[in-house]
Symmetry: D3
Subunit: 175 residues, 6 copies
């Protein structure tokens, strides 16, 4: 049987810490389901990019890192408002899996209560590589490009992502 794991993130945007984690997990499983969480969200400070944009730059990032496309699935999963049905929702949208990689204690708890195995994933330079810091740097006009794969930085600039995040930041200040 194929050993399949799931890795859940929002990837707003994908950064070098994510890439490092995915490479580590791929040593432990045959196939990895990369879940693009909060897939319905976009144009907010926490979630500036649409699921479609995130799928595009996650694929670019994995290609740039020579990760074999036969080793992973890339699946957008919208939030459920209700935690009580979230596991069933996740399971229905993904190929079957046995092990879950996440550092979120609630996600770990929900999947543990449903009988899934929780894997360990060490975070790589966690203080340096976080999506929140990247988005904040963009708003403040500070350098951020080094934290993400170069194809991701290029794509974000091409689609006007910098202007979008700044507009969202301005709204936040105003309200």
């Amino acid at each position: 049987m194929v050993k399949r794991g799931v890795f859940i993130g929002r990837f707003q945007p994908i950064h070098k810490g994510h890439i490092k984690a995915i490479k580590e997990i791929l040593k432990q499983v045959d196939e990895l389901i990369i879940v693009i969480g909060s897939a319905q969200c976009s144009h907010s400070f926490s979630n500036p990019f649409t699921a479609g944009e995130r799928i595009t730059f996650v694929k670019k990032a994995l290609d740039e890192n020579n990760i074999d496309p036969n080793r992973y699935y890339l699946i957008p999963v919208p939030d459920t408002n209700d935690n009580r049905i979230w596991v069933a929702h996740l399971v229905s949208l993904t190929p079957s899996f046995q092990i879950v990689f996440s550092n979120n204690p609630l996600v770990r708890r929900l999947l543990t209560e449903s009988g899934f195995k929780i894997g360990e994933v060490k975070l790589f330079e966690r203080k340096k590589y976080t999506a929140t810091l990247i988005r904040t740097a963009i708003i403040e006009g500070k350098p951020w490009e080094e934290s993400v794969p170069s194809s991701v930085a290029e794509f974000i600039k091409d689609i006007g992502g910098v202007e979008r995040i700044k507009a969202i930041g301005e709204t936040k200040l105003k309200l």
Copy 2:
């Protein structure tokens, strides 16, 4: 005609203050509809338990206090996002009632605007018995069992409720 009242709570978890209030209200009405509010919620700090778990321990608590099952209805009611339809939603899910017991001014206002009578319910040792304090005590590893009927404490421990609330607390700190 049967004089029927409604008492609205989230019961996360039910505590001795709730029991005291229910006993007081049962002196004023023939039958009481106990609404388990926010029924769609679970696995969050404000709402750790599912509606099904809450129905189970509310029934246990009422049995432990010898409250006649013919005197009450126990009905889970999910939230509506929109206040403007909440009264119609509540009415559609419950047997007909004439009087409402609640200390929430908005709930009182909504039901007053729809023509319902608002009853008075004194809260028993309100500072001591609140569900928020109980959940906080569980996270901090402090004693909480005395605030709830013993069958409720036992059930919460049996279903892993303590571990769940602690995992949620950890998530909160992390985010």
Copy 3:
């Protein structure tokens, strides 16, 4: 451990066939969760009564039949649009159960896929006692009262249920 079963119906309205089935099931379990399905529906041909009205007349019917209120739970469960999350939804709204009583092959299949045991329930004079026939009789002005407990017939008349079902029937013809 308490042996708990679940019996799922829409009860539009509850009839003597339902009562017979509930009595039979109560011989097999300690406690029975009676699920009022499609709880969000009302004022249509398939679902004329609100969940609140159905809770009221199901309780009356069980009382009329001297069924001990400590033996059952009466829980309204709205539909999910998506079958893939229905079992998780049902489980979250109900006390824990081990066995399911239903004659609907899809319900049986969904719960079997989730690992639940399916019990057998013989239907009592199925041709005679069906809610669809009762509603059709009401529209056509034919006798229907004998098919339901007398307290149910009385309640339906009291709340204007006959007029409501006839208005719905008229709409149906018109559209």
Copy 4:
């Protein structure tokens, strides 16, 4: 106090029968709330036009008939899936009203149960002027323009409404 009525339709499209009815009702009330029902629907056989398109051509039709804009409100109202909350939903989206004009028995029943008065509105040449016939004529390439105010026919053609309805008709045949 202002005597205000409500007239509920889907206006897919508005036709001369609607105009006639609105003129009749305006003799009975000071102000009329014209509800554009099923406002969320479009691009289907029953509901080809968006709410925005319907607002546009209803306004044109009323102008063409010299109906004073101070006598009416034009309000899009999306459907609720649940009849039990529909009246509360309608009330929340409209200025207060006392009387309802509708030939749909269910709508009449729902509003009667909530205590509203139902007015009488005679339908003008009902066989000739129905939106379903107009849409069918468009699909079949038969004349339909005479059934609607000329500004409405012109607008529908301008926005490609004929092509849209034909495409929808083709889909229907195919599925």
Copy 5:
């Protein structure tokens, strides 16, 4: 072609700053679509009034200011939870427009990304005329009537709006 603009607000309540802005915009366009945003909301501190109540007092305010009803549309638009579909949602509920007036940077960004032109609207005494200040003054029992057209102040008092906002304020303090 008609030059049509859209002006988006929540109007909780409409105040003299809004009126001034609408008058300014009407110099730039033939017709103005006034969108009553967050139309599903009511009975909260940010959104105390229902869409129906807001439609009523916006109409009164425009009449009081002698604004020609043939120059504007008044359309309630509920929120979408997802920004990614908000423009399509807005477009579907409104007559076609070319230019948007808003001071919210996110609204401006979303509509710019979809190709709409953004107009400029100067805010009139912005510090003095804001709906938040008006609602706060009502809670605190301070004067607020001068900030809104007199027909609006009268209507709010008539429907018990002052009591409603105070009840909501009390709830806020309590929670």
Copy 6:
């Protein structure tokens, strides 16, 4: 620039006609977005398989046909209830695309109205290869395996898909 197309299906299940069409389209574009439509549906006659199951067997079918995983994206897209926002919803969940392949006239119309180019895709032995016929054959116990790639037939049997579809068929007969 990458020339990207989108191909929309429900793949209940994927069959040899789909494979043929995908191969044809891949001659016209650099990359193809394969949309798994009605992603929220499962366990019904029209949509027996979950999105996760469909992703699994579509991937197997493409692998069996040696289609390069760098040439396509496989994206589950839930339905919107409202056609008016469907294009925005589709666009938000997918990488950017220029051309759409679909034989559904409504889908073609919706995307044409939004300015997308519609491509031509010839259906291969359309009478022989349709998912509806395959599901009907499964219910009736007739041979169906030859219509789908062999890895797909094997997977469907492994997950109990035959039993599921038969249970659904039985329900249909009963209701």
